[in-house]
């Protein structure tokens, strides 16, 4: 096997993927220059950006977007197909306490948990046949975010920024908004693993204590210099660096370093503005809601408007939607989620951005149609984790709205029709961004890696 020179490999970065990983694996002697420069994908695509509104913890599909009349009929009775192994013991079938009605022109049924989002179903495709592998949070969160059930692979956002670079060089390419640490896995969910560190998500703890962008982003502002003082300091630095460069034959790496300082200087203004939701009107902030997820969605919109490539908004810290004991708790979260998601989609659409932004809404898995009866719970009115079947909502960027794809069985246990594994979702996400998911690779530890491991098929039915 011939090894290509690092230089040759670097030259190929713009064209072929997979080269880049090889290039950086080959030598650490020089830095990777402009790793976030915008790159063209494999083929033209509608979606240029991705946003994942992540209802972490596991929203119940049978209570939100996958109505199961059979549950009401058989409520309190044993599940005729038995209870598949989930995290904990579950008992008899439990009807959804929430009423479903057809919404939009398309008539996609949505439960009363999401009245406002219901109005927008003509723009939304509901995949009802999602499935994943393991009924526990950490592996399923890793699968949904990083394409494997175990630690050690890059997040989807890292892959996307690696593949596409950043549209706006003055802002991070991949931003993750979560008020704290989701689950026990935390930063691994947006980590870049073996991809260069520059592709990891920039985590912003968007909690109520930190609405001021200067507190949100480290090192964004100099607390003791006025802008005038700083620009004078920058001018001095520029001159010193130029002189240093002249004495070193115009070394390309030093040149790149000087460039990055110029960008940093611009970034100080741009990022400050992008993350500042206080610049929105009172009415707008009210529409999104005065809670972490609402603020996160509003911030996400501002970032997308400014060309941030990938944004993930976690509903909350820990495992917010994880209602083992009492499914009625979904109500309290849905009030916030419904309002924020609807405002977000409406604004994106009004700004003409929805067409080129792929929006995903969903969880790492769904919940059981049966009630959990483990002694751990104070009440047996909740549902356990269900990796065998759940729903995911897609909108915008090349997705066929007003549609429902696939189905679970009569009770919502298993995906049975047109099954979509998380790998397939990832393959579709990359396809919508213009990538052949089998070719967006990175050479590491002796072999090419990719987001979809060795799996994944594009779900063509949902493409507009």
């Amino acid at each position: 096997m011939a090894m290509f020179s690092r230089r040759e490999a670097l030259k190929a970065v713009g064209g072929g993927f997979g080269w880049f990983g090889l290039a950086s694996a080959l030598g650490a002697s020089a830095t990777v220059e402009a790793p976030l420069a915008p790159k063209a994908p494999h083929f033209p695509a509608k979606a240029k950006r991705v946003v994942f509104l992540f209802l972490n913890g596991g929203i119940s599909h049978v209570d939100s977007f996958d109505p199961k009349p059979a549950l009401a009929k058989h409520a309190g009775k044993p599940s005729p197909i038995g209870n598949p192994k989930t995290e904990r013991k579950t008992g008899n079938l439990m009807a959804s306490p929430f009423r479903f009605t057809p919404r939009g022109q398309c008539g996609t049924p949505v439960s009363e948990l999401f009245p406002q989002l219901g109005e927008l179903m003509d723009d939304v495709c509901v995949i009802r046949s999602m499935h994943t592998d393991i009924p526990n949070h950490p592996p399923s969160l890793l699968m949904m975010n990083c394409g494997r059930n175990v630690l050690g692979t890059p997040s989807f956002g890292s892959w996307i920024t690696y593949g596409l670079g950043a549209e706006n060089q003055n802002l991070p390419g991949f931003v993750v908004l979560c008020p704290g640490k989701p689950s026990v896995v935390g930063a691994q969910l947006w980590g870049s693993a073996f991809l260069p560190a520059i592709y990891q998500g920039t985590h912003i703890a968007n909690n109520e204590q930190a609405i001021d962008p200067e507190k949100l982003i480290p090192f964004l502002r100099n607390p003791s210099l006025t802008p005038q003082q700083q620009s004078k300091q920058l001018a001095l630095l520029r001159e010193l660096n130029r002189e240093h460069l002249r004495a070193r034959d115009g070394d390309a790496e030093l040149e790149a370093s000087i460039q990055s300082m110029e960008i940093a200087a611009r970034m100080q203004t741009e990022a400050l503005d992008a993350f500042d939701i206080r610049k929105e009107t009172e009415t707008t902030r009210e529409r999104y809601g005065a809670h972490n997820f609402g603020r996160g969605c509003l911030m996400a919109r501002r970032l997308l408007e400014r060309g941030v490539r990938c944004v993930q908004v976690y509903y909350g810290a820990q495992e917010a939607w994880d209602h083992h004991a009492d499914i009625m708790m979904h109500q309290k979260l849905a009030v916030n989620a419904d309002r924020a998601i609807a405002a977000f989609l409406r604004d994106l659409k009004a700004a003409g951005l929805l067409d080129e932004t792929l929006v995903l809404i969903g969880s790492e898995f769904g919940r059981t149609p049966t009630a959990e009866i483990s002694v751990r719970q104070f009440l047996q009115n909740g549902r356990d984790h269900n990796p065998y079947g759940f729903s995911m909502l897609l909108a915008g960027g090349g997705v066929k709205g007003g549609t429902v794809h696939g189905a679970t069985d009569d009770f919502g246990w298993y995906a049975v029709e047109k099954k979509v594994h998380v790998h397939d979702l990832h393959a579709t996400m990359l396809h919508l961004l213009g990538f052949d998911h089998t070719k967006l690779t990175y050479h590491y530890s002796g072999r090419p890696f990719r987001l979809t491991d060795v799996e994944g098929a594009v779900v063509r039915d949902i493409l507009a």
Binding site: A2, A187, Q229, L237, N241, E253, L254, A317, N381
Partner: protein, 870 residues
Amino acid sequence: MCLGASDPGARFEAGVRPLLAKNCYACHTATKLGGLRVDSREALLQGGNSGPAIVPGDPDRSLLVQAIRHTHASLRMPPSGRLGDAQVQQVEAWIREGAVWPGASAGRSNPDTFWSFQPVQRPQPPPVKDAAWPRSAIDRFILAKLEQRRLSPVPEAERRVWIRRVSFDLTGLPPTPEEAAAFAADHSADAYEKVVDRLLASPRYGERWARHWLDVARYSDDVLFGEAPNFYFYRDWVIEAFNEDMPYDLFAKAHFAADLLPGVDNRKLLPALTMFVDAPTEFTDDDRVDVATRGFLGLTVQCAQCHDHKYDPIPTRDYYSLLGIFRSTRYREVPLAGPEAVDKYRAHKKAVEEREREIRDFLATESRQLAEIFAASSARYLMAAWRVLGPAKETVEASAAASKLDRELLERWILYLRSPAKQHPFLREWESLLAEGAPEARMREASEAFQTLTLQVFREHRAVEEYNNVLKYGAKTGRELGDVVGKTMPRELYMLWQELAADGNPRASDAVPDAREDGVLNFRGDKVLRFLPAAWSEHVAGMRARLAGLKKAAPPPYPYLSIIEDAPEAVDLRVFVRGNSQNLGEKAPRGFLSILKDIAPEPFTKGSGRLQLAEAIANPRNPLTARVIVNRVWAHHFGQGLVRTPSNFGQTGDRPAHPELLDYLAARFMDEGWSLKRMHREIVLSATYRAGAKFSPEAYAADPDNRLHWRYPRRRLDAEALRDSLLFVAGSLSEQRGGAPAPLDDATNDRRTIYGKISRNILDPMLTLFDFPNPNQHAEQRIPTTVPLQRLFLLNSPLIMRQGAALAERVAREEGPDPERRIRRAYQLLFQRPPWDSELHKGLDYVAPGNLWSQYAQALLASNEFLYGD
């Protein structure tokens, strides 16, 4: 190998090969089920018992395709279920295009010929034309190749540049102006040697080079799901090992078998065994195999977890042979204190916990009884509330006094009755009666009905809870509890109990957006004492005083090591077919890699096999261990290794640019007692290392990657060297060595970065920015990036502002009021040179208007000259 292009070979690598590996290799490689192997084009053409598996160009006639389409009468593969359509189509397309198998002739690296598996040679340095240039054998290897290509090395670096380079390289810090001046003035024959010997003898050497090793060891001060108070003993042990130049073979062996090695002070080596505990989670034996094999042997053995290694001669069985060794170990804590101290600490801790529980239980019991007592007077309180809310419109005070009821409780009831958010219907009737102005008798009737129900619900809740508590007591872990079926109540009844009696949830969270008050009748903690006779309060106060006394007398927590030791029973694993632990294949007796079988031919049977593994790794006949470590050392000195994939010496890794030099170094390393310091000395005293960083268009055209070492590469300081140097030149760096880590973003932390807290969960933002590797996995090498966020750090971070101010103060203190002298001193401290006139004037102009010394100092610290080493 070509991954990006769209030729059939690329499609094979990206799609078909992984697909075959995942779905077929388990049965159709060495095992050859049905006589078929599918791991080479030849094998597929030859086929198995049913004939050739593929007909290149004709998918329909290919048995392989018929089998995976499930169209063949009997062959339906894989047995676990049909592949997806897309996958089948990939295989079809591949065969249609001729079944191109890239590198078909090479296939797997051949164990008999592949370079890294061959014994280390002792090559003689080659002859060179320019006999004056070489200063060591290393240089003759380097120069011979340059001469072959008609190239020559760029001129030697000036002394100032060299001492700066070697100081950063060996200690992670720049030289002081005094050190640089002394060296410049030293015209003795061994001037360079004296500098190197001084640097290698400095404890700062270990603080620098231990960090390089900690990348290999994916060192961190915590685990993914929690804290670890004592991993730093390992970090300090590594620093010490480097500083005392522990032979690398012993260093390596200690990581596997510090407790078992004969003829050494085992206790002193024990911290090495922490490396295998200091892992992302305690369940990651896979990670242990990876760090052991990539770290020490430069082999990607974890690629063989689900199928035989596709490129190197590493069968799946080898992976499980190694995994079995780790599965035969267990976790152990080794107290670093005498048994009395340990016993005393544990006994005390237990006593404190008991006393705390005693107080908690006492108060909980009282408050629960109080709630039940109050539940039994619910009707009286409801009637009193009616007198406030109803037509009588009494004040709360008056109503409480009239009925001899507790005012606070009555206030709570009223608040509750007014709340619209009740999650049960049982007060609806009472509320509608109130609303319609019903007479007292009807209100009383409704109040009493509610009280009866409440008492019933309390009894039921108590019964459910007692039943569940018995079950909970029986199960040991949360996971086990998940499978134990408990009792429950109907939701509305439970909610009634919760709203009246449960403990509140004072802080709202994302999962529970509403904070919940304590239940109406719940007076918990000290709130209950108001309702109890004075003797009860005195009792509680007495218990608390005893607890406080006990805590005051607490013995200090004793330090301990976290290590692995042999489990009582060693286990041999079976191969997990396709990596699935539920699907077991052939036996994999504990043992060494089959490729290196002549080093350790027998299965490992002594305990877990750790000692045998250690000896096999450190065996001088092992062709990999010495090559891998000298290549790592080379890579840190020159920015790239002789092999540019330092943890992958296999087929898919790089080939050495100077195989003879690598072997010369590896052999010499072993001959000289595996001494790293001698290796450094030889390298940094070479003419190769002395070369300047000057650009040469001719050499660049011939060798743009500088693999031939025609110049020394210019490099940016890494995260540690940058932070340490900022502190050092500003005069702030602490000399304190070793001990517990402190957060790096703490303003008072002025210690070297290696002593900063490394977290697997939230990595320090500065480390992240400057390419620190993910501590959750072994890091082959760091990949430097140049990004604006780094610049923001240099412009705005508290660290740089503090050090800018400290540097300004330092030069003022040392040089007095003369601005020119201050600037000259700053240049000496940072760059070990005087400023040019133009620089001096720029500086003077900058500081003049407002005495802007801190800003000026900060600009110098943020400059490229400080950030990059020539």
